[in-house]
């Protein structure tokens, strides 16, 4: 039950919801900056990376590379969903949303199975800062993907209930912005953590 301020808001280029999400992304960026900064301190501070105690453990670069492609693809499909609803394509919206959600789940699934294998090989949270920052940084991103997926399925449910149309799609809009952020963040992490 918000107080309707449309008498003022109509003049604004960005709706409150949209602006609010963009502002939230500022905070998310700083959260990841803190963690990426930490990673860099350790990465730069260690002559050999992984540190000698972890020789033999290799991060799965190829599988993760493919996974990266999956996630990037989901960014594209999310964008298509957004385009669809602008043209009032309610049915396309549902389809694209569903594809996006499945891609997101796939990404999480692949990453989860990688983690299981890494832990079997002996890379755990307690394996010095190498293991520690790997799990915390990548895990933090995974939690973001997970919340984006949950959000997406809520939006999907709303789409099934016919709540969106060409001039009413704030829910899709905000979810898309968040999704794109989570997708765009990943390649940076991939390059830093897996390839550097």
């Amino acid at each position: 039950m918000t107080h309707n301020n449309s008498e003022v808001q109509e003049r604004q280029p960005l709706s409150n919801a949209r602006l609010g999400i963009l502002v939230l992304l500022g905070a998310e960026t700083m959260l990841f900056s803190g963690l990426i900064g930490t990673f860099l301190v350790f990465r730069v501070g260690n002559v050999t990376w992984p540190p000698p105690s972890h020789i033999g453990i290799e991060l799965p670069r190829v599988v993760t590379g493919i996974n990266t492609a999956l996630l990037l693809l989901s960014g594209y499909t999310m964008f298509q969903a957004w385009r669809a609803i602008q043209k009032d394509g309610v049915k396309q919206l549902r389809n694209w949303l569903l594809i996006t959600g499945v891609l997101g789940l796939l990404f999480l699934g692949v990453q989860g199975s990688e983690w299981v294998q890494l832990i079997r090989k002996g890379l755990t949270l307690q394996s010095g800062v190498y293991g520690g920052i790997f799990y915390v940084l990548i895990g933090c991103h995974a939690v973001h993907v997970l919340s984006a997926v949950i959000w997406l399925f809520i939006v999907f449910g709303m789409a099934m209930a016919g709540r969106f149309s060409a001039n009413r799609y704030t829910g899709v809009d905000t979810c898309m912005i968040y999704w794109i952020f989570v997708v765009a963040l990943w390649p940076i992490l991939y390059v830093l953590v897996y390839l550097s």
Binding site: M1, T38, G45, H54, S127, G128, I133
Partner: protein
Amino acid sequence: MHDNGHTEHHHEESFISKYIFSLDHKTIGKQFLIYGLIMFFLGGGLALLFRWKLAYPEKPLPIIGVSQQYMDDGEVVTGADRMWERIYESEKEEWIEVNMPAGVMTDAFYNMLFTMHATIMVFFVVVPILVGAFGNFLIPLMIGTRDMAFPVLNMLSFWLAVLAAVLMTVGFFVPGGHAAAGWTGYAPLSADPQWTGVGWGQNLWAISLLIQGFSSLVGSINYITTVINMRAPGMTFFRMPLVIWSLFIVAILLLLAFPVLSSALALLIFDRLAGTTFFTATAEGGGDPLLWQHLFWFFGHPEVYILILPGMGIASELIPVFSRKPIFGYRSMVYAMIAIAFLGWIVWGHHMFQSGMRDDLGSIFMTTTILIAVPSAIKTFNWLGTMFRGSIRFTTPMLHGIAFVSMFVIGGLSGIYMANTPVDIYIHDTYFIVAHIHYVVFGGSLFAIFGGIIFWFPKMYGRYMNDVLSKIHFWLTFIAFNCTFFPMHILGVGGHRRRISNPMAEAVEIITQEQSFEDMNIFITMSAFTLGFAQLILVFNFFWSMYKGKVAEQNPWQVNTLEWEAPTPVPHGNFGQIPTVYRGPYEYSVPGEESDWIPQAQPEHAPATSGD
């Protein structure tokens, strides 16, 4: 749910939805204010406890400590003795042995007290009052809108803050006591329980601050969106009152700074609970204690500007109103705040000169820190310029405004000393730093808070605060404050270190060239107790005036800004019709005008209207 423009209708609201889970920005603002005042007493009480220890390290605490006789031969004389006797017979014995054997506090307990004092004051008093209370109450009213952009999030922000405060308070009662690694939580003290002996206390400290961070995040999203999107017609950015500018800038700082602390807190929690070693150096690929300091101060320095900018904003409202003059250099005030906020990001190293740093890096941090003095000085001269040849009305809010400016100058100047690396290496971690932080945060932020409370009280509760009590409170506070904190400069330069529980211990005296600081410490403690008791007057006055104060008219101080256009008490939805803004906020004593004030909502060449 409300139709636009007609908010006169009052739908029945239950007590719960009106006062507890309220969505109205004004109620949430008042909730934050009372929250802050309660925590103010907790934080202040802790300070008085450890001040006793600094003055009389070996003596039992008064009232709650045991009597000398009981210490000597176990004879119960006072009520406190009886209480201790009972505690000794109960299970709590271990706690007593660790913290206050025979009523004399131990070093471990002292560590916990100063840690929690600062934590509570910074995170649970000054920010909630300045940002939570004033931000919520003032932003919609002063930019001319009906509520925040996201009222539900606003309520969430308050209740998250309550949850954080509860967890922080619970920490006092867990085994091992509360956090004791300083409010800055330096690793490895904070990261490894073996150093402080603190277990869940430190965990709760970190978890509570994480939640407080969420609360701030939600709040700042709300403030930023509201200020950008919901200003009344005609309320351009450069017609916004300076306090709104300051809150807007602070919301941006909070938004961007707190997540960095959150990342550090998360890593700390992993270190403590999941066996990682991010902040402890170990042979097996361990981490780096200095990393904590970098993350903490990258957040911490913007945080200290979060503590002062809204105070500057409030002073910028009080001073022109009671000087009956436009603020001097409105735009330069805005740009100075932006400059301070920007520079605040690149100076964090000035807290780490003594931690070990490359020399050239030290010079960079030194230079950028000193640069902050420039916008700070601009603001100071603008306040003075505003008062210069004004028709000053020495009301109590104005006294607080003037106190703010003068105390901020002292605190800012001591900051310049410390900003110089060679000087700081000598005075770092001494009472000089303690003097500095209290001149800026108590002398600055708190005087602004007091002034702001008295100033906006008539709009909040429709009544004046009792002026006699307010004046007594002001003068007692002003004098006791200076008696408490000014001597700390001298202590600090003399070599008295901070965070030392017994300044008379032999080892400490050797470091301080065998000077005894006993007399000065006793004087400071006396003044601190006076200062503490003076605050009781404020709180009594606050609650008494809520019900018994003199009823105030709609615009008692003759102010131009929009919040005074709204009827008192301000209804749900604030304004009958959203006002249109025709001018800047500080048109006082305009030459050629009859009245010495022209409200922002008054059209050109029309008789003064008073809102509805």
